[in-house]
Symmetry: C2
Amino acid sequence: MKRYAKVVGLREDQIEEYKRIHREVWPEVLRTIRDCNIRNYSIFLRRMPDGRWFLFSYYEYVGDDHEADMAKMARCPKTQEWWKITDPMQFGLENRAPGEWWAECEEVFHTD
Amino acid sequence: MKRYAKVVGLREDQIEEYKRIHREVWPEVLRTIRDCNIRNYSIFLRRMPDGRWFLFSYYEYVGDDHEADMAKMARCPKTQEWWKITDPMQFGLENRAPGEWWAECEEVFHTD
């Protein structure tokens, strides 16, 4: 199992709507997350000192090919439809790596 | 069980040392974390667009009085000694709540 943490921006005027739609994520989207070997997935919100809001995600990947499973997720039509709603609510970190939307963090400590 | 995510800054010149000491956290500190009902605790590192580095922590609290357990942790002499080393490596978010060091995030989504 590998733990992932990622960050993306959230537009201030979209906070309430983002929270609202995440109280009832479409079942197909949740099923695809699970089918792509993602477990214990949470998203947290925090205003940072620069005044902007950011989403921090945490999940545990239980498969053996994260890249292939992410590609599989991106092929799910309902997930694509979902991202068409959520992507414009977000903004990517200006210093994210090429090809990233959610910018990856580095694990520096873990204890069970 | 309640999930917590928190953020604190990490001074750029302390990154390597912070990572190094977190590869071998003192056993007494780890034991106290566990005794205080914290499970599945991870810390992640990320440079944010403002150019500064931040630590994002995630843990699962399995007790029934988080505040009391945090106070218990703060009474552990070895933990106090550990924080005397780690606190100066960090900086608090300028917009954290009064009394906070690690600034708390809000959970907006979860799926198992």
